[in-house]
Every structure is written in C-alpha cells, then in structure tokens.
C-alpha cells in the first residue's frame, strides 16, 4: 500500500470563477479541496492543514498500516491498549451506532473478509468457515473506557466505516477555523461543505454512477450545507448458481444482506451522520427506502 503524499494545488482561475482546486491522495482515494476564493496563499495554507489532518486520521485508524493505533489495538493479544480522547469518542460513537442498529452496525465484523472475497469468480464460503469467524465478532465483547480498550484475542476492530466521514467532518471544522470563504472537502466521494457558495448559491455536486455501463445519468446534487456520503459498491459482488451475493454482510449471520441496494447516498448535517445513515439503510436490505423515508432524510438509492 503506497500512498502518494502529494498535494496538487491547481490554481486554475478560469473565467473569474474564483475557485481554487487542491487534489491529494488519502485513504486510498482521490481527494480534493475546493475553495471559492482567489487567495492563493490562503488556499496553500488550507491545503496543508487539511491534508495534514486527513493523513493524521488515516495514519491513526487505518487497518492496513502496521504502525497504526488500530493495528496496535487489533494485535494486542487480549491485553488493554491505552487510548486517547479522540479514540474514546470514536469507540463511543461506534457503540451508539451498534445500539441504534440493533447490532447490525458492528465495527468488529471486518474479520469476515477472511471468508468472503467479493469478485465474480470467487466461491461462496463454507458455512463452517463462516461459523469459525462468527465467534470473533460482537461489539459487546469489546471492553473500553476513557483510557484503554481491550479486545479478546483474535478479534479485530475496523474504523473503515466511519473514519473517512469523520475525517471529512474534522477537516470541515478545521477549514471553518481558517477561512470564511466557502470550502468543499471531498474524500473519495464522501464530502461536506463549510457553507453555501457566495450569494447563497448551492454547490453543484455531480456524482457519477459507478456501474460499468454508464447508462444511468449522473446525479446532480445541490448542496447548501452539511455533507453527503455514499455506502455501497456495485462492483463488489459474486454470483453463485444464479444468485447474486452483494458485499454487505449481516454481522449476526455472516452472510450478505439480501436484496440490499447497490449504493445509497444520503445528505445530512454532517458527513459522518450521512455515512452511518447510508450504511444503516443498506443493512435494511429491501426495506432500505422505507427506512430512509422514515428518517426523513434526502437520499438517492441505486438498485
């Protein structure tokens, strides 16, 4: 896993549009910052602070990095790992999501990837294989307080479902403290804005449909405040005997959620909230739309 640490500040000010684009890589995704301003120095300063913050969160919570706090927690062989305030808050947040979803949203399910490989040619795993992993799943087994967290041996936690959205929201707070100019921060499709554009105009965000056929048109979303996040991945599935297995797994059974939409995009006051709502909806399977309607949020579902 190599992450290029390059910030590409694109000072294009075509047509007096007064936007400055900054592109960088983080969390295995192309990321960008857009600021509605012509102040290059401000943009440079913003870019360096936001990138530093995003990379810090990535470094700390990535499951892939051997030197991350996440990896340290996961490999401590049943011993407590000291944590800071930020990690405590994240664990606390994950716990609330777990309760709100009646156990469907569980940051200990990542281990199931050892059984499921989602690409069309892979096999559906044996039930025994899944069962052997299920005993290492279950948030209720995680013990934590403000100072330390303890995982039973072989269990793992994975912040992948919240870290990116959390990074967006943290970066937005940072941007707000640096400038009053409207800023959009996009980390691989999960994004948020600090304010509407000047003259109270909404940001026009186009989200390309992720299928290969490109038959469906792009969604154009007018974003005035808050953020949006997308859950789901229509390329990750496997087909066995005519049955399609999507990559969204039920934490309780270890099997894919049936009739889940391919992807869901939700708009909410914060990116984190949007991301969790999208994920919770995905976990509802065929009831996804009903769930989103009950929550009265703005959403787009691709099935």
């Amino acid at each position: 896993m190599s992450i290029s640490r390059k910030i590409n500040v694109n000072l294009c000010q075509r047509d007096n549009s007064a936007f400055i684009h900054i592109n960088f890589q983080a969390m295995a995704s192309p990321c960008e910052i857009i600021i509605q301003s012509q102040d290059k120095q401000l943009a440079q300063r913003l870019a360096s602070k936001v990138c530093t913050e995003v990379w810090r969160i990535e470094h700390k919570y990535s499951r892939y990095r051997t030197d991350s706090l996440c990896q340290q927690i996961n490999t401590n062989g049943g011993l407590p790992t000291p944590i800071d305030e930020e990690t405590f808050l994240l664990l606390n947040f994950a716990e609330q999501c777990y309760h709100l979803s009646d156990g469907l949203f569980d940051i200990t399910t990542g281990i199931l990837r050892k059984a499921w490989q989602f690409s069309p040619n892979h096999e559906v795993p044996e039930q025994s294989n899944i069962d052997s992993l299920l005993k290492y799943i279950g948030w209720q087994k995680v013990k934590y307080n403000q100072h330390q967290v303890t995982l039973p041996e072989k269990m793992e936690i994975d912040f992948g479902g919240i870290a990116k959205e959390y990074a967006v929201d943290k970066a937005i707070l940072l941007a707000k403290s640096i400038t009053d100019s409207p800023v959009l921060i996009n980390l691989g499709g999960d994004l948020a804005v600090t304010s509407p554009l000047k003259q109270n105009k909404p940001w026009q965000v186009a989200i390309e449909h992720p299928t290969l056929t490109k038959q469906q048109p792009d969604m154009i979303i007018a974003l005035v405040s808050g953020g949006l996040a997308t859950s789901g991945d229509s390329k990750r599935y496997l087909i066995k005997e005519g049955k399609r297995f999507g990559h969204v797994l039920n934490a309780k059974t270890g099997w894919p959620i049936e009739n889940a939409p391919r992807s869901i995009t939700v708009v909410a006051p914060q990116c984190t909230q949007a991301g969790v709502l999208a994920t919770l909806a995905l976990l509802q399977g065929e009831r996804a739309e009903n769930f989103l309607n009950e929550q009265e949020v703005k959403y787009w579902v691709r099935r």
């Binding site: 947040f93 003259q199 909410a268 709502l277 976990l283 509802q284």
Partner: protein, 440 residues
C-alpha cells in the same frame, strides 16, 4: 431485519452522537428550525423612481420572497405597490391658441396653452399587486410552474392565472416549454366609459343641465377585457459559455381595448380643432411574437442579447433589441461588484386606425376605429442605462440602476395641415429611471 421500535429517532440520536464525536454544539429542534426558516427565504426588494419631463412620475416598490422546500419545490410571493401622478397626453393635437378640455370625471375643465401638447394632469393612481408562483418537478425532467396574479388600482382590477410546463432533454441541455396565461381585467374609469366617437362635452360643469348632457356621452360605468397568452419556448445550452432561448407567443386580447381617457382632435382645412371625439379601438387584438435571447460568458464579462419581433392584427409590428453587458469590477472593496451597461432599442409601426387627428370633412365618412394615442403610432424608443451592483456580507447584493428613456414618435406619413405645420405634433417623451435593489 428491522431496526428497533425507536427507528424514527435514529436520525436525531445520530445527530447527537455525531455532535459529541466532533465536539460541536448539539443541534436542538428549535434552532434547527429557526435556521431553516431564515436560511430558506431569499428576499429581493427594489424601489424604482420613474419620471418623465413635464409628464408623469411614478414610484414603484417590489418585495419578492422565494422559499425552496425540501423536495426542491419553489414558492415565490411578490408584492408590488406603485403610485403614479402627473400628466399624460390626452390625444388631442397642439394648437396655436389655448384649448379647453373636460376632465374624464366630467367635473371641471383644464386649459392647455397655445403650442403645448395637450396633457391631462388628473392622473393619480395607486396600484397594489400580489403574485404567487409555485414551481415543482412533477416527474424526472418535468417541471411545472403555476401562479396567480391579483392587482387593484382605483379604477382597475386584474385577476390572472398562469401555468407553464418545462421538459428537459439531453442532460438538461435542451428544455422545451409550453405555457399559458389568462387575465381578466375590469376597468371602471372615473366618469365611466365614454361613447365612442362622441364629442367631448365642453362648457360650464356647474350648469344645471351639465350632468345630464355629460351622461349622454357615457356608455356604462365599467367594462372588461380578457387576455389569453400561449407561449412555446426552447432553451438550448450551446456550450460551456453560451445559452440561447427561442420563444413564440400568441396572445388574444378580447373586450374593451379602448382608452377611455383618450380623444382625437377633429380639424378643419386650416388645421384648427373643431371638435374632440372619444377614440375607439377594435374589441379584439391578436398579437404574435418571436423572441430570441442569448447569454454569452466571456472570460469575465457576460453578454445578454435579445431580439423580439412582434406583429398583430392591428397592423402594428415592432422590433426590440435589448443588450446588457455585465463587467465584474473591484471598486471599493475586495468584494466582487459589477457594472452593467444597458442599451435597448425599440421601433414600432403605427396601428391601421392610428390617426394623429381627423379631418372634419372625413369625419362623416365611415371610419370604424380611430385613435390618436401616440403609443400605437409609429415610434422609436431608446433606453440607455447603467447598473452598479455590489455583494455585501453573506452574499447580500445591493445595486443601483440609472437609465434614460426617450420615446420619439414619428410621422407615419400623415399630411400636415394648416397651422399644424408650425406645431410639434409628435413631441418626444424623455424619462429618467432610477432604481435601488437589495437582496438578502
């Protein structure tokens, strides 16, 4: 796999959880609502002053409020109030000597000095107008907009409805629209509706027989007209910088289209007025127009250019060219501001029945309609203006507009007779338009 019974509260619970995670203020129901109310209403207001040299002055104020709802429905409410005072041409031609006319109410006379264009200075009116417009998507790429109009002035009531359907094609690059509007207007002029071609009664309004004699020149107290407009439109995005629109409009006006305040001078062979008769226009008018507009975004500036060709069954044709160039500038602060010069050119031909005056010997001829209203005569008008707008805090915009408007009526080939040769019977009208707008 159904979430627990408190599922309705998941969003609220997540909101609190997220706020705790990020260490930001937990939104409460009340301040969330407050902010949505203040954020959602976009208010625009404008105040306009219009003043013609020696003629009418008007002030007009508008407040327009837009609210966008959750599903992108847009409600627009607009309130307009205007007040008009001053003098307006009554249709009679200037004479070498003073002329006396009766006020439209029948109560009293006014005298116009020799060589002056006869102006009736009794105009004084206040108008209140309300508009509501609701716009929403009724299906993917189908947008329906419907509205209602109400306006009331002292002697005039207008009620209207309109509806327009727009359909987007090709990634919203092409939009076709079709719409209609219908207005029903009731005119109750002071002094009633005059009998067409009746002579204006001139004399002593305190005479005991005056009221009876004046009443004979009156038909009814009020009359109505209806206006039905149909419009087809095509909007096309040409490229990233250019957008064009083409419209075709068909408009049918039916009912009382005459101006009850307008008269025509009946002159003898020396050009001396012998009589003033009330004008008469047809009771229908069918107008059609084609309209073409383009918006072009240069590196910085934006050019808005439009052309309209209108023709009707009164034989009026007109050409209108309107152009605005918006130039961004940085004058007083780092905030963006702009200067926008405006140039409008308008030329119309005269209605078939337009007559600057009638000849005495022809008056007994069978003329069906006649009007000396210069506004349906041959005319060229020019508007030159400039607008300066600046953006304030939070995107609020303050702008000022100053324009000069000149109407130059032309002789559409009428022979000048006798004393009229030495008089200006096609006087130009010059006006200043000043406007302040503020949006927040």
């Amino acid at each position: 796999m159904v979430l627990g019974k408190n599922k309705e509260n998941i969003k609220a619970a997540l909101s609190i959880a997220t706020s705790t995670l990020l260490g930001i203020a937990i939104p409460t129901e009340s301040n969330a609502q407050q902010s949505s109310v203040t954020d959602d209403w976009d208010i625009e207001s404008a105040f306009l002053f219009y003043s013609e040299a020696e003629r009418v002055s008007a002030i007009e104020g508008i407040i327009s409020a837009n609210k966008t709802f959750d599903n992108d429905e847009v409600l627009n409410l607009k309130f307009t109030i205007d007040a008009l005072t001053g003098a307006s041409a009554n249709g009679a031609v200037a004479q070498p000597y003073a002329q006396t006319f009766t006020r439209p109410s029948g109560q009293g006379q006014y005298v116009i000095s020799g060589e002056d264009t006869p102006l009736d200075d009794t105009f004084k009116d206040t108008r209140v107008q309300l508009n509501g417009q609701w716009t929403q998507a009724i299906a993917q790429d189908y947008i329906l907009s419907s509205g209602a109009h109400f306006s009331k002035e002292y002697d005039y009531l207008s009620l209207g409805i309109n509806s327009n359907l727009a359909v987007d094609f090709d990634r919203k690059n092409t939009t076709l629209s079709a719409g209609f509007s219908y207005f029903h207007d009731t005119f109750s002029p002071e002094g009633g509706i005059p009998v067409a071609f009746a002579s204006m009664l001139i004399g002593d309004s305190n005479d005991p027989d005056w009221d009876e004699a004046f009443a004979k020149t009156r038909l009814t107290s009020s009359d109505t007209k209806t206006t039905t407009d149909l419009m087809l439109g095509l909007t096309q995005v040409i490229n990233r910088r250019m957008l064009v629109q083409m419209n075709y409009s068909y408009s049918m006006v039916d009912g009382y289209l005459t101006d009850p305040f307008k008269i025509i001078s009946v002159i003898n062979e020396q050009g001396i007025a012998q009589d003033y008769i009330y004008e008469k226009r047809p009771t229908t008018r069918v107008k059609q127009s084609t309209f073409f507009q383009s918006m072009y975004h240069f590196e910085q500036n934006i050019l808005d250019l439009s052309y309209r060709y209108m023709w009707d069954d009164w034989d009026i044709t007109s050409h209108t060219i309107d152009s605005r160039l918006r130039i961004p500038v940085h004058l007083f602060s780092s905030n963006e501001s702009y200067i926008q010069p405006h140039l409008r050119f308008y030329k119309q031909s005269a209605a078939l029945f337009y007559q600057p005056y009638l000849l005495e010997q022809n008056e007994s001829l069978n003329i069906d309609y006649a009007s000396a209203d210069y506004r349906i005569g041959q005319m060229v008008t020019l508007t030159l203006g400039v607008k300066y707008g600046m953006f304030l805090e939070k995107g609020n915009e303050l702008s000022f507009r100053l324009e000069y408007y000149q109407q130059t009526p032309e002789n559409a080939g009428f022979e000048s007779i006798g004393v009229l040769n030495d008089l200006n019977i096609y006087p130009a009208v010059k006006a200043i338009i000043a406007q302040v707008s503020y949006s927040f």
